[in-house]
């Protein structure tokens, strides 16, 4: 049996990525392409009184200027949530946020389009913007359930207020998280062209089948008239999970100028036009006894949203599932701010929510004089507190234990401010994390060829998570092939529809589809062999035949074997096709599914200049089967580091008057760079979890970024005795 799953195989696309050969959407060329520049609104609330595009239209190379007054109509508004905004671009004269597109300039070259865009003159009628979450808070409300609000906004078990009042120890605090930008390295790009009523779109999309359906609806086409291709995506993190306005603008402009049109948004537009993780204000109230057993929890979160949409940042969504607490109330509200609609950013809801809840638990631990790890152990949810069902493969206690040991948690002195090294205050902190595991239908085919090779065909998109490699390993192991014998056709709606590449769906859902397809191809090969008189496996019970070294053999008789190549060639079969169609069990599964993590952080803070440095971070994750030790480690380190950015530096602050983002540039919105990063160490405690799905793997992309901010804040408290409840933890908050 070839063991491929779990091996630290090098990425299958690695050579292309280090030689510049990997093709991203902006690298695709089409003959006769025209280029668009998008003009953004200078005001954040009001109306466009008029747009004077005459000068722009006369500029060299300009083909057209499209505004709300001359745009073609869309056939329909495609459904949310995967249409990012519930308003089509250039729909009318209303302005809801700064940077909202008000005009599209199309020209022969990008330089000409960019130049002409500066010549478009807009006259605005301003109204008063709501600039900040604080300004909007008094009008916060529970959003109506619709396409954008897919998870309940309220949860109740028991009587949390009563239980809280009766608790011997009580804690009540407010926590705040900043607006965060995904800031992927690749600004979104779309290339669209029409051939009659057939539309082809190259788009930096994390989900080609999902987004194709939206584009088809917007242009009134059957889905099979639209082809969407997304070969490699230069960073997703949720930024490209939804179809943002530019995705609809490119085909619209292409129809107007009757040529292929390329829209590549600017770096600034990445910040203003493709979503963000919305800022939250969260109240947490905890009741416990003196032995640290939690009796009541109230978690009340409000996030900012836009005037176009109610998008809930589900910060209290996982709270009811996390600890064995009898009385729980969780609520999520939204408050309208003059800003763009938020998106889903790694890790929606849970990153912000875990900061509040896991900080509050740390405060409680100090209040009752208990080790924070022990506090969490005492409240461990052995079964899912919401459904009562057993967990599918929860090994959170092992995460605490193994990460604590690797970290050296036993060296921690409990007293805040008690650990020093020269001028450095040293702090140890920890936190837990949990992410509910989702599943999605996913399809794939695997073709086994008479060369002894296999081709996976599935529309999954490689965004950096390593899916092309891990899914190749899954197919290789299923068919007993070396990984190098497997190739992958991906990222194209002409292929079987995979799960979207977001929501940590690839390992569990796309992976299961590939596993089923490989099993189906194997079954076909076995049938061919046992029915073929010339095969050494002729007449064998199919159940006794297994894949082995690029062929088949009897499980207990290694001498009765033959290669796929011999088998298929003798039978004049070019290839055998296996189909995989993974259907989630959903609510009928009998198990509750989630991923879990534990984080331990060491910070050092110079007592004269209180800049927080994370010198060491150890994390352990319970995600079932790890498909590739090399790519998983990299992905987990990346999730941790991205969130260290949120803990220490990242904040997309609104201008207090207009509400516009004041740092829509990488020069101002600081993300971690190499010199910011200390040692990051990752452990996986899991084993195959076949209750969850046939492959035994759960997602990693999202759980990797949950709990880190609290772990850092808790370490900062331990170092300094200062509790910072508002992210990011910048030096001014420690002065």
């Amino acid at each position: 049996m070839t063991v491929a799953i779990g091996e630290p195989v090098r990425r299958v696309e690695a050579r292309d990525k280090v030689t510049g050969g990997a093709r991203y959407t902006e690298d695709v060329r089409a003959a006769d392409t025209a280029y668009a520049a998008l003009v953004g609104s200078a005001i954040s609330a009001g109306r466009v009184r008029s747009i004077d595009a005459r000068q722009a239209e006369r500029a060299p190379g300009v083909l057209t200027v499209i505004t709300h007054t001359n745009r073609p109509d869309f056939a329909a508004q495609p459904p949310t949530p995967y249409t990012a905004e519930g308003r089509m671009p250039l729909a009318d004269d209303r302005i809801h946020y700064a940077g909202q597109y008000i005009a599209v300039v199309v020209a022969e070259t990008q330089e000409q389009a960019d130049h002409a865009a500066t010549l478009v003159q807009a006259d605005y009628q301003r109204t008063s913007p709501v600039p900040t979450l604080d300004a909007a808070l008094p009008a916060a409300y529970i959003p109506r359930q619709n396409g954008l609000v897919r998870f309940p906004s309220e949860y109740r078990r028991g009587h949390a207020e009563t239980a809280l009042a009766a608790s011997p120890v009580r804690l009540e605090q407010e926590y705040r998280t900043a607006t965060l930008s995904h800031a992927p390295m690749e600004p979104s790009s779309t290339l669209a062209y029409w051939e009659g009523d057939r539309l082809t779109i190259y788009d930096s999309s994390q989900a080609v089948h999902t987004h194709r359906a939206l584009v088809a609806t917007a242009f009134g086409l059957p889905e099979d008239r639209v082809r969407m291709i997304s070969s490699f995506v230069g960073g997703g993190f949720g930024n490209k999970s939804f179809a943002w306005p530019h995705v609809f603008i490119a085909p619209m402009a292409a129809r107007v100028v009757r040529r292929p049109v390329r829209v590549t948004i600017s770096r600034k537009q990445v910040f203003t036009g493709t979503g963000h993780m919305a800022a939250t204000v969260q109240a947490v109230r905890l009741g416990a006894d003196r032995e640290g057993r939690l009796r009541a929890l109230i978690h009340d979160s409000t996030n900012q949203t836009s005037f176009i949409d109610d998008r809930q940042e589900g910060a209290a969504g996982t709270t009811p599932y996390m600890y064995a607490i009898p009385d729980v109330y969780a609520r999520m509200r939204v408050a309208k701010v003059s800003t763009g609609t938020g998106g889903a950013m790694r890790t929606p809801g849970d990153s912000a929510g875990a900061f509040a809840l896991e900080s509050a638990l740390d405060e409680l631990a100090y209040k009752i004089g208990m080790d924070p790890v022990e506090l969490r152990r005492r409240n461990h949810a052995d079964t899912d507190p919401v459904s009562g069902r057993p967990w599918s493969g929860k090994r959170l206690l092992a995460c605490y234990e193994q990460a604590a040991e690797r970290f050296g948690w036993d060296r921690r002195k409990a007293e805040p401010g008690s650990m020093r090294d020269g001028d450095d205050l040293v702090g140890y902190g920890m936190a837990g994390g949990q992410r509910m595991e989702h599943q999605s239908r996913a399809r794939a085919t695997v073709h086994l060829s008479d060369e002894g090779t296999a081709v996976i065909r599935s529309s999954t998109v490689e965004i950096g998570g390593g899916g092309l490699t891990t899914l190749s390993q899954v197919a290789a192991e299923g068919l007993g092939l070396p990984v190098g014998a497997v190739t992958f056709e991906h990222g194209d709606t002409d292929l079987p529809a995979s799960s979207p590449t977001f929501g940590s769906l690839t390992s569990g859902s796309a992976g299961s589809a590939v596993r089923l397809a490989a099993q189906d191809a194997l079954r076909a090969a076995i049938e061919l062999a046992v029915g073929d008189r010339r095969s050494p496996l002729h007449g064998a019970d199919p159940d006794d035949v297994v894949a082995h070294e690029s062929g088949l053999r009897l499980r207990d008789r290694p001498d009765r074997a033959e290669s796929y190549r011999e088998l298929l060639r003798r039978n004049r079969v070019n290839s055998l096709r296996g189909d995989g169609d993974f259907q989630p069990a959903g609510e009928t599964a009998g198990y509750a599914m989630a991923t879990f993590g534990a984080h331990f952080t060491e910070v050092r803070i110079n007592r004269h200049l209180p800049r927080v440095r994370v010198v060491r971070h150890v994390a352990a994750f319970s995600i079932g089967r790890v498909l590739n030790a090399r790519t998983a480690r990299n992905q987990a380190q990346g999730g941790i580091i991205m969130r260290l950015g949120a803990a220490l530096m990242e904040s997309q602050r609104p201008d207090p008057v207009s509400g516009r983002f004041i740092s829509p540039a990488l020069t101002d919105y600081h993300v971690p760079v190499n010199a910011d990063i200390g040692e990051v160490d990752v452990l996986f405690v899991g084993e195959p979890d076949t209750n969850a799905n046939p492959l035994g793997a759960r997602g990693l992309g999202e759980i990797s970024a949950v709990g880190i901010c609290a772990s850092v804040a808790n370490a900062v408290y331990h170092a300094t005795g200062r509790r910072v409840r508002s992210l990011p933890i910048t030096p001014d908050k420690l002065l």
């Binding site: 090098r10 690695a14 050579r15 280090v18 030689t19 510049g20 050969g21 991203y24 902006e26 690298d27 520049a37 003009v39 953004g40 200078a42 005001i43 060299p60 940077g99 070259t109 990008q110 330089e111 960019d114 130049h115 865009a117 500066t118 010549l119 478009v120 006259d123 605005y124 301003r126 992927p184 390295m185 690749e186 600004p187 490699f232 995506v233 230069g234 960073g235 997703g236 965004i463 950096g464 998570g465 390593g466 480690r633 990299n634 380190q637 990346g638 999730g639 991205m642 207009s658 540039a665 990488l666 020069t667 993300v671 971690p672 760079v673 190499n674 010199a675 910011d676 990063i677 990051v680």
Partner: protein, 201 residues
């Protein structure tokens, strides 16, 4: 900026056309401040193309470029070298890093017409036929990337760094690679890759 005025790309292009008209030359780029206000008057007629000749990945190339075009856009659009990426167009991310006469520069922040007669190396020019440059191999072996969008810049930057400092410490690698953002944050692996490539030299 007054909110009632339009938004759009920065006006450095307008300034450039002004400074060309005035014969001020291209070296004045750093001082865009005072020129911007005047530039509106001369902005209407963008300049025509200019001829340049330079060596790219060992090959002599002669072409005409719009003087507003960055070196990056010329490489990507005119010469078909799509390895270098435009992550920001503002010199803040490093994805466009190329070598000019062996030194690393941000190709998005500089105009192609400034590089007549120079030798430019992009990520496509590092391998020797099928044999990868040791830095490229080290990035594969140490999994020094995820999405790969910043990787061309990271790899070229690492090659440039080892030219500047053949035996860097891990601390020096962290500092000297900090002009190249990796939002996937493969940083620990990038440091391992550069260190291993340095040791293998």
């Amino acid at each position: 900026m007054d909110e009632s005025t339009h938004e759009g790309p920065p006006s450095r292009r307008a300034f450039l056309s002004h400074s060309l008209t005035a014969g001020a030359g291209l070296a004045a780029l750093g001082s865009a401040g005072p020129g911007v206000a005047e530039a509106r008057a001369v902005v209407a007629d963008p300049p025509e193309t200019l001829p340049i000749s330079l060596t790219v990945n060992g090959r002599r190339r002669t072409l005409r470029v719009d003087p507003r075009t960055s070196l990056l856009d010329t490489l990507r659009k005119d010469l078909g070298l799509t390895g270098p990426k435009k992550g920001c167009g503002q010199g803040a991310c490093g994805a466009c890093t190329v070598l000019v006469d062996g030194g690393r520069i941000l190709s998005c922040l500089t105009f192609a017409v400034m590089f007549a007669g120079t030798e430019v190396t992009t990520v496509e020019g590092l391998a020797d036929g099928d044999r990868l440059h040791p830095v490229q191999q080290a990035f594969i072996d140490h999994d020094g990337f995820q999405c790969g969008f910043c990787t061309s810049g990271q790899v070229v930057s690492a090659v440039g760094l080892l030219g500047e400092n053949p035996r860097p410490s891990r601390e020096e690698i962290r500092e000297l690679m900090s002009g190249n953002i990796c939002r996937c944050a493969a940083y620990p692996n990038i440091v391992d890759a550069v260190e291993s490539a340095a040791k293998g030299r």
